[in-house]
Each structure stands twice: as structure tokens, then as C-alpha cells.
């Protein structure tokens, strides 16, 4: 038998048949591995079995099954105790959300003792006719209904009493106990007085109809529609609605925050309704002579212009704060300084004291011709101060916001964004960031020396001797750019840095293992000719070999390459890509390595190419 976790797991669960179980039992005796595995499986099963359990009480199970729809609200759970189910939401709901819902009183309603005479003048404790008292309170099963408590029992119908008690709080009973019965307020019509015979099928009175031995029937209380409490969205909606209504009520008919955009009262396609209404009203005031509001002066003035500036205005004491009614009086045309004009809407602590105007009366100014329709109302002032941009308007501190000003947002009032210093600050910040970005983003790439060298090489060499004519090689100069010594690979450097040499001749030799090149160096006429010039030999690529002399002039020919040599071509790079340098370019048939040395007397450079 093979060791198998599947077998052990099935064996642990007792799902193996008898033969396999016996076989595994025999196997477990001698297999320590399976014994350990079975022990692990038992431990894991024990751990999972030890997970915490969830307990659901009966009332919660009843509520859960009720909400799911398995049982009715007043059905009993099978196997559950006979106690009435507790409605959970009743305990949490506020008492004013519906009658009978929630805990209306902080105390339990007092149930009159059986046989206790009713309180004179109070509400009847029992609406049913006198019935025999129940034998034992333990037989009763209480069913709480909205506002009433119905006590029933399981005894035979003939001897079964019924008692319906109105849950009356004692606080409501005590104050009215001294009131005579004839002065008591009339009860609700659905409750019959106790001395009257109830209707045969009046369910509210719970009275037994004549001849009905099965009474009382099972009470099926009708569920009262319970209004749910206001939710957050509803409260938010109400708050917005109320604020919106208040905002609309505070403003005048010329409110520019509310505009009719279509339908009756709407303006033309090219103008808003507000502009049209204001234009019509301005024209009406101009023709009727009604007072209109001057936006510039913030005062009410006559529509007819006062053409005589020399006319003496009446003596007016404006030290007292005018009221709205006084403002509307056309008989007091007064010009006021806009900066010191009394603003009824402004808060009192923000009102500047018109010192000069309180001492001396103001001289009236002629009313300018109405070029634009006047806009009375406090919104008009906001619009007027915000139409044009001025530095004064920016620097002028804004009045302290009040509730009414908060109700009318400035953007809705039509103020242009020019008057908002925050926008200017935002624009300034964006401009500053733009400038910083331009300054920091101007990147100057460092120009490499390699790139600069060909430019410098275009200039004539300072070391070029005018008397020596350059040797023009037979091979056409390469168009490809010559790499600098920094870009060569496998470079070797020889020489002590002497100058004023020239390459008088180049000789070639074929050797068994390498290809030898001998550069015969000769000093320029008049030069001492000591030392050896600096030579850099390296490979531009695998088949291009460069020999770069510093401070050396091309004095002789490049010689003839022997056939079958490693180098197949030679020419002098002209103009020299490196100023003051003589560059030989060899074309190789294959990749090679270079080695070399200087020989003195005469000075010769020996280079061996091995490939």
C-alpha cells in the first residue's frame, strides 16, 4: 500500500470502506510517516473545528427571517419560546416618528390592577365590559400593539376573558383627575365609551358580538405605516432647499443670481433677461421721472438731470443714517462720496464714519446722462465695482462678509474675475513658474573636444612651413571623419615630444609574422633634430590604422606598399583633423595589432603590424 494523503484524509473523515480502512490500519502500524501525517491532519481538523461560532438570538433570527420573507412579522419561530418577538427597530426609533413606534416614555405605562376602580374623569382603563378576571397571570400571553396592550390567554373561548387596556402614562392621568367628567375632552371617535354597547364588529372595542362564541378572534394588528426618520440626503436636500429659498427671498426682483433663460420673461438670444428688464426699467424711469439708483454714486437720484450745478441744494443733515424709505425719497438728491457712503447692507463695524459729510452738506452734482441702465439693489453695487479692473479696486479691502452677502455669491452676481485678487495671484504664480521653467530648462550642452577639433583644423596650421609643399598622396582622401586619438583603439604612443621633424621616407617590409613600416624622420632645416616626436598609433576600426605624428611635417613620399602586405592602402589625411598633427591612414586587409619603437641616428620609427 502506498502512502497517500488522500487516503489519510478520507480515513480521517471516516469515508473509507471497511476493507480499505482495515488495510490502512495495518499500514499505519508500521509506517511512521503516515502516522505523523495523520496526526497533522487531526490537528488541522481540530484547529478548524475550534473556530469561534456565531450566535444568533431568537429575536434576531426572527427579525432576519422576517426581512428575508420566510415568515411574517408576527409569526412565531418554530421551536422558539412563546414570547412576542422584539422588534429591534422600535427600540432605536425616536418616539416622534410615529405613533406606537419607539419608546415614547422613559417609564413603562402603568397597568391598572384588575378590579381597581377607574379614576374619576380619567380615561377608561378598560374599554371592554366587565369580564371575569383571569385565573392565573401565567396563562396570559401579551401582544403589544401600537398604543394598546391586549392580554389574551389560551383557555377555552367560553371562559376566556379579554382585556384591552389603553397604555396611558401616569403623567397624563394625574393632572386631569380633578376635572369633572363633564368637562373632559371628547375622546377619539374610534373608542366607544364604556357604558355604551359596542358595535357588533367594532374591532377597536374588542367587544364580543352577540352569539359569537369564538370571540375574541386572533388579533391581527394592522401595521401602521411608519415614517422613517430623515436621512442624511433628505436633510441635506432640505437644507439646500431652505437656503435657496431664503437666498431668493432676500434678494430683490432685480436679482442677477436668478435669471430666466427660457420661456416667458426670457430675453432675446443676444441678451439676458436681466439686461432686458433693466433696460426696460431704466427707460421707464427716464420717462416717468422716478428715482433711480446711480451706480456710480450709490444713491438714489432723479432721473431727470439736474442741469444747474450752481443751484443751491437744500440743507440736508445726513449725519443720521437714512433708512430704506428715506433712500427712496426723490426729494433728497444728495451726492455722496462712494468711499464714505453709508451702506445699509454693510455691517455696522465696517461702516466708515462720514466725518466731512456730517459737518458740511454736500454739494449736489449734476446727474450724468444714463448711458447704461441703472441697476438698483445691492447686487448692482457689486456688479458696478467689479466691472472694470482698477488697482484701487484690487487694493481696497473687501467688506466683512455677512450672511446676506454669503447668500449671493459674487460669481453669480456677475462680477468679473478682474476684481478678484486671488486670480491675479494665481496668474502671477503661473507666470513665475513659467519663468523659472524657462530659466532652468535652458540647458547648455557641453561641446566635446572631438567636435571642436575638426573646426579648429580648418584653420591653417601654425606650424606649417610655407616653404614645404604638402605631399599630395595618390590615394584620394577619405571623406569619412578621422577619429581623434581618444577614439582609437589599441593605441600605442612613442616618442619624447620633440618637434620640427618631417617624415622623409616610409619603407615597408614583409616578415614572416608581421608587416613592418619604417618612418624615416629628418629634422627640418635649421632645427636641432634631437629627440623623437610623439607618435600615436591606433586603430579606428578593425581595418583602419592611424599613425598620428605631433609636430611633424610630411616631407617625403609614402612609398609603395608591397603586394600581399597586411596594409593595402595609405594616404595622408588632409586637411589634418587635429591641428599641428600629421595623420597617416592605413587600410588593412584584416585586423591586426601594432607594436613599435624608435631608433636613433637617424631617427626612425618602426611599427610592426601583426595580424
Amino acid at each position: 500500500m502506498r502512502c497517500s494523503l488522500l487516503l489519510l484524509s478520507t480515513y480521517l473523515d471516516g469515508e473509507l470502506n471497511q476493507s480499505r480502512t482495515a488495510e490502512l490500519d495495518a499500514h499505519l502500524i508500521g509506517c511512521n510517516r503516515c502516522q505523523a501525517g495523520l496526526g497533522y491532519l487531526r490537528e488541522e481538523a481540530h484547529r478548524i473545528n475550534g473556530l469561534a461560532r456565531v450566535t444568533i438570538p431568537d429575536h434576531s433570527a426572527h427579525a432576519m427571517l422576517t426581512q428575508v420573507g420566510l415568515i411574517d412579522e408576527f409569526d412565531m419561530l418554530p421551536g422558539a419560546p412563546a414570547a412576542a418577538p422584539r422588534r429591534v427597530d422600535d427600540q432605536d426609533a425616536a418616539p416622534w416618528f410615529g405613533q406606537g413606534v419607539g419608546k415614547a416614555l422613559p417609564w413603562a405605562p402603568r397597568v391598572p390592577e384588575p378590579g381597581t376602580p377607574p379614576v374619576p374623569g380619567a380615561a377608561p382603563a378598560s374599554l371592554a365590559p366587565a369580564v371575569p378576571q383571569p385565573a392565573a397571570p401565567g396563562d396570559l400571553a401579551d401582544v403589544e400593539v401600537a398604543g394598546a396592550r391586549i392580554v389574551t390567554d389560551a383557555r377555552p373561548p367560553a371562559t376566556r376573558p379579554v382585556q384591552t387596556e389603553i397604555a396611558t402614562p401616569p403623567a397624563a392621568v394625574a393632572p386631569v383627575s380633578h376635572v369633572p367628567p363633564q368637562e373632559m375632552p371628547t375622546r377619539a371617535p374610534d373608542v366607544a365609551p364604556p357604558h355604551e354597547t359596542p358595535a357588533p364588529h367594532d374591532f377597536a372595542t374588542r367587544a364580543a358580538p352577540p352569539g359569537d362564541t369564538e370571540f375574541p378572534r386572533p388579533v391581527i394588528p394592522q401595521r401602521v405605516p411608519q415614517p422613517s426618520g430623515p436621512r442624511f440626503i433628505q436633510r441635506l436636500r432640505d437644507a439646500v432647499t431652505v437656503r435657496w429659498a431664503l437666498m431668493r427671498g432676500v434678494q430683490t426682483a432685480d436679482d442677477d443670481s436668478v435669471e430666466i433663460v427660457s420661456g416667458s420673461g426670457a430675453g432675446e438670444w443676444s441678451e439676458s433677461a436681466r439686461q432686458r428688464v433693466q433696460r426696460e426699467r431704466a427707460a421707464q424711469r427716464a420717462t416717468s421721472g422716478a428715482p433711480q439708483f446711480s451706480a456710480a454714486t450709490k444713491t438714489w437720484e432723479q432721473a431727470t438731470p439736474v442741469a444747474a450745478p450752481e443751484a443751491q441744494p437744500p440743507e440736508i443733515d445726513i449725519s443720521a443714517a437714512p433708512t430704506q424709505h428715506q433712500k427712496a425719497e426723490p426729494a433728497a438728491p444728495v451726492w455722496e462720496d462712494p468711499t464714505t457712503a453709508w451702506d445699509a447692507d454693510a455691517p455696522m463695524w465696517d461702516t466708515p464714519v462720514p466725518a466731512q459729510t456730517s459737518q458740511t452738506p454736500q454739494t449736489p452734482r449734476p446727474t450724468p446722462a444714463p448711458t447704461s441702465p441703472s441697476r438698483p439693489g445691492r447686487h448692482a453695487r457689486i456688479v458696478t465695482t467689479g466691472t472694470g479692473f482698477s488697482l484701487k479696486g484690487l487694493l481696497k479691502p473687501k467688506p466683512a462678509p455677512t450672511g446676506t452677502r454669503l447668500a449671493a455669491p459674487r460669481v453669480m452676481a456677475g462680477g468679473t474675475p478682474w476684481s478678484d485678487p486671488r486670480l491675479w495671484a494665481l496668474g502671477g504664480g503661473v507666470l513665475l513658474l513659467l519663468i523659472i521653467g524657462l530659466l532652468t530648462g535652458k540647458h547648455v550642452a557641453p561641446v566635446s573636444t572631438v567636435a571642436q577639433q575638426p573646426i579648429a583644423s580648418a584653420q591653417p596650421s601654425a606650424h606649417a612651413h610655407p616653404s614645404v609643399a604638402p605631399v599630395i598622396p595618390s590615394v584620394a582622401p577619405s571623406v569619412a571623419p578621422t577619429p581623434s586619438p581618444l577614439q582609437l583603439t589599441g593605441t600605442r604612443t612613442f616618442g619624447s615630444g620633440a618637434r620640427n621633424f618631417e617624415v622623409s621616407n616610409i619603407r615597408y617590409g614583409l616578415h614572416p609574422n608581421d608587416f613592418r613600416m619604417v618612418f624615416d624622420m629628418a629634422p627640418v632645416s635649421g632645427a636641432p633634430g634631437t629627440g623623437s616626436p610623439t607618435v600615436t598609433a591606433g586603430f579606428g576600426n578593425a581595418t583602419t590604422f592611424y599613425v598620428i605624428f605631433a609636430g611633424v611635417l610630411p616631407g617625403g613620399s609614402t612609398g609603395n606598399l608591397p603586394p600581399g602586405a597586411l596594409a593595402t592602402g595609405i594616404h595622408i589625411v588632409q586637411p589634418s583633423p587635429i591641428a599641428g598633427h600629421l595623420v597617416y591612414e592605413f587600410t588593412l586587409s584584416r585586423a591586426a595589432t601594432v607594436s613599435g619603437y624608435y631608433l636613433a641616428g637617424p631617427t626612425r620609427l618602426v611599427l610592426d603590424l601583426a595580424g
Binding site: T10, A45, R53, V54, I56, Q67, G69, G79, R231
Partner: protein, 190 residues
């Protein structure tokens, strides 16, 4: 269904007389309620450890019971418990809650449903421990298999109905689940 005595007594019943088979098959609603009440705590326990959260588990159990109330198991006395576990498992797997959560942008404009409320004592079951942390690493099917066998105590035949597979597949699934759970638990515990 009403059967007239003359027709009932006749040896040859006419073909147009229908016999209500559903009366013989469909269980009484009271039986289902009794069964649900009997296993409600176990169902919520199983769902709690299956999904990891007691609140979600209650909604899943309610969704499963709602489905079971609409489509009650036919053989309630035989495999009623398995049917309930199957409904709850399916509700947990397919995220079927009760009340169903609205989806899409229209839920912002829809009137909210009455809230579902259930009081359960799941403080200990909701607490995370090493065993639950190890079970989180298992797949849903393996976790369900472990819980159905070791926590709910279902046999392989009932588990095959719950997990909708054969008993042999249940055995293999359970063995694999135990192997993975053991390795993860030892790794976490140590």
C-alpha cells in the same frame, strides 16, 4: 386540487384530470423555516469564516435564504441542510447579498432600500487569528471544503451537493485543502 368523487372512484380516470404533484414534493414553508432556524447559527458561522467578515456573512446568508425561500429544496428532510449550505455557498461565491446592493450610476438616484438588520454575536468569530489568516490564503473552494467538513460536519455526500461535484472530487479537494492549509499554517505559526 379538487377531485370529484365520481371521477375519483372510477377505475379509469379521464386523462384531463390533473394531479398536483407539487403538493407531494414541495415542502411546507414551516419545515423550511424550522430547518433554517435549526441551522441558522451554523450557516452564519460558516459564512463568516468563509468570507472573513460577519457583516458580509449575514448578508450572504440572508441572500442564500432568500433564494432558498423562492426555490425551496424538494427533498427537504433528506438534503435540506446541504441545500441551505449550497445556497449560502453560492451566495458567497457570487456576491449575492440580501438586500441586493445596487450597482451602476443609477444607485445615486434610486431610493434606498430598507436596511437589513440582524443582531449576531460574532465578536469572537470576527477576530482574526492564525487559523483564519492561514485560511485566507486558500482558494474559495478549498476553504469551503475545509469549513464544510471540519466546522459544519457535513459528510462527503452532502459536500458534493454543496460544492456541486462528485464525492471523489470532494475527497481530493479536501485532501489538497488540508495539505495547503497545513503548510501555510506551519509557515505562519512558526
Amino acid at each position: 386540487m379538487r377531485v370529484y368523487p365520481a371521477v375519483k372512484d372510477s377505475p379509469l380516470r379521464p386523462a384531463n384530470v390533473m394531479i398536483n404533484v407539487a403538493e407531494q414534493v414541495l415542502p411546507e414553508s414551516g419545515d423550511l423555516v424550522s430547518l433554517v432556524r435549526e441551522h441558522l447559527s451554523d450557516l452564519v458561522t460558516y459564512a463568516t469564516h468563509l468570507v472573513g467578515d460577519p457583516d458580509d456573512a449575514v448578508e450572504y446568508v440572508a441572500g442564500g435564504l432568500h433564494h432558498a425561500s423562492r426555490y425551496p429544496p424538494t427533498r427537504l428532510q433528506l438534503d435540506g441542510r446541504a441545500a441551505l449550505y449550497r445556497a449560502v455557498t453560492r451566495a458567497c461565491r457570487q456576491d449575492q447579498r440580501y438586500p441586493p446592493r445596487p450597482h451602476g450610476p443609477s444607485r445615486f438616484f434610486r431610493r434606498s432600500r430598507p436596511t437589513f438588520h440582524a443582531e449576531i454575536d460574532a465578536e469572537a468569530a470576527g477576530r482574526m487569528n492564525t487559523v483564519k489568516r492561514a485560511m485566507v490564503n486558500l482558494s474559495f473552494e478549498r476553504r469551503a471544503a475545509l469549513l464544510l467538513r471540519d466546522l459544519a460536519g457535513l459528510d462527503y455526500r452532502e459536500m458534493s451537493r454543496v460544492l456541486e461535484c462528485s464525492p471523489d472530487a470532494v475527497a481530493r479537494l479536501l485532501a489538497a485543502a488540508r495539505r495547503e492549509f497545513g503548510s501555510v499554517f506551519r509557515e505562519i505559526a512558526i
